[in-house]
Amino acid sequence: MAEATRVGADSAAVHEVDSAGIQEMDPDAIHEMDSGAIHRKNERRPYGPLADSWRTYRLVAGMWIRSTMTYRASFALTLVTSFCVTFFDFVVILLMFGQVKGLGGFGFAEVALLYGTAGTSFGIADLTMGSLQRMGKRVRDGSLDTFLMRPAPLLAQVAADKFALRRFGRVAQGLLVLVWALLLLDVEWTPLKVLLLPVTVASGTVIFASVMVLGASTLFWMQDAAEVTNSFTYGGNTLLQYPPTIFAQELVRGVVYVVPLAFVSWLPALYVLGRPAPAGVPEWAAFVSPLVAAVCCGVAGLAWRAGIRSYRSTGS
């Protein structure tokens, strides 16, 4: 869902032209009938751009999964270690709470909730769109051209490139911590709070994924700058795992108003925990994550289109 929305922006233009009835003006139409290439007359796609992207993504990701499965032993090992790597990431928090009772006024269960929501969102975004940060290599060595020659949306192809199922380990770990936090938490649950949680995880995923697409878009211009995206994705994830109270207020305001990562988990989670929003942010901000996610999608989509346009005019 997340990727599909942005992929849509890519192929929308093409789709419009497709349905503009150009086939009737095609001077080759008669010849084609002769040569038996009739199936092309049915090429008008019954699929929308979103469905098309999702289909492409599944096809390419499927091929990568099959490729991975040819090295079964190695895959099993990577899946386990991927889970362990992220597990040890959480061990750090456990170790901290072995030494202290609270961080910035937040107890263990509360920090675990922050960690679980951000971690799950980031995990899903990383699983589905994480390959985008390796696109720079494709641009540099020219293999991106091969993708552009196929009748399929580029973003879906690039996002599914080198799809690594092992990254599911991170999603599993995030969910585990989230469930743990929910079991430990002593919160007065209301229907609104219950509803807010899945919405938060979904919106958070979209926001992280948007940042990844935005970062990938810059690779069309600067192929070596991939690491900057890491500071917002991996860095953002680390930031969101801790309570906002421990950070400088300028930094907190930055992730609310500039790079809206605070909407991934902080603001909704603070509402669930019954704590005030940080840095003078109004309380209703906890509920606008889906809106923020939609805006992020739009921005990322525009950046991606600008990136492709630049690539197609400079070919670099």
């Binding site: 991975t68 032993a73 099993a76 072995g98 500071s231």
Partner: protein, 267 residues
């Protein structure tokens, strides 16, 4: 022969020096992570001053040393193993093995050049930014800095030896990603990159401080912070040196076995 390796090292330095954008991007990322970690450490040491024998100033210095040394000591990957694994996977490695130069020495030279560049290009700026934004401990005098640099050089050597050994595994496991992940886990967690090893409790801490990954960050940071006096400093160096020797030896053994395998299979 030494001239050859010096040339390779210089090449490694220059090759990475051409990636200006990548360096700038790396500095930016290291700085961002430095800020995030600094605030979490401040919160932690606020609750427990003198945690792990560190003052808050020590802890903050530790954060920024860690950011500066990530690529130098290879905490999150040595930066060369992907290329080496790819050469093994595609069979190009056979060409390298027939070269008159020693494979391990060749790659170590390139690594040395690269690390020197990373220390200057990616280490100095985050340290300086961190020092401006937060007040943290600085070594006492030039002697402290020199002792620190020696520990960094040894740490970087251990880092190379670990990743070289990891790459060698690709001769047997066609897809080396699993082993890379395990090494990554070790580098990230047991180097003290996420939390200093002296904050680790009980047996976990004792084991962690004995593992080779402690050479990458914990030992250099403690040298920087002046935690070793007199003969203790020699002991710290010896700890790093021993791991370097053991891992280099293991790498050589793996390389010899792999060479025999490649020769038998005819590439």
């Amino acid at each position: 022969m030494l001239r050859l390796y010096a040339t390779v090292a210089a090449g490694g330095f220059r090759r990475h020096a051409t990636y200006r954008v990548a360096t700038a991007a790396g500095v930016f990322t290291n700085t961002v992570f430095g800020f995030v970690l600094s605030y979490t450490y401040i919160a932690l040491w606020d609750e427990r001053p003198q945690l792990g024998g560190y003052s808050i100033d020590d802890a903050l210095a530790y954060v920024w040393i860690g950011q500066a040394l990530i690529t130098v000591c290879g905490m999150m990957g040595g930066g060369f193993e992907d290329e080496l694994i790819e050469r093994i996977r595609t069979g190009d490695i056979a060409v390298d093995l027939y070269r008159p130069a020693d494979l391990q020495a060749w790659w170590f030279s390139a690594h040395a050049g690269r690390s020197a560049y990373q220390l200057l290009g990616r280490g100095v700026v985050p340290m300086a930014v961190g020092a401006l934004a937060f007040h943290f401990t600085l070594p006492s005098g030039p002697g402290g800095w020199i002792a620190f640099l020696v520990a960094v050089a040894l740490g970087s050597t251990v880092g190379f030896a670990i990743w070289y050994l990891v790459a060698m595994s690709a001769f047997w496991l066609l897809d080396g990603q699993g082993v890379v992940q395990v090494a990554w886990l070790g580098g990230l967690f047991f180097s003290g990159m996420l939390l200093p090893l002296n904050v680790f409790p009980g047996a976990l801490g004792e084991v962690a401080r004995m593992l080779p990954w402690a050479s990458l960050l914990q030992v250099p940071a403690d040298v920087y912070l002046g935690k070793y006096v007199g003969w203790e400093l020699a002991g710290a160096y010896a700890f790093q040196g021993c791991w370097a020797l053991v891992l280099f030896g293991a790498g050589r053994a793996a390389q010899a076995a792999a060479t025999r395998k490649v020769v038998v299979q005819g590439g």
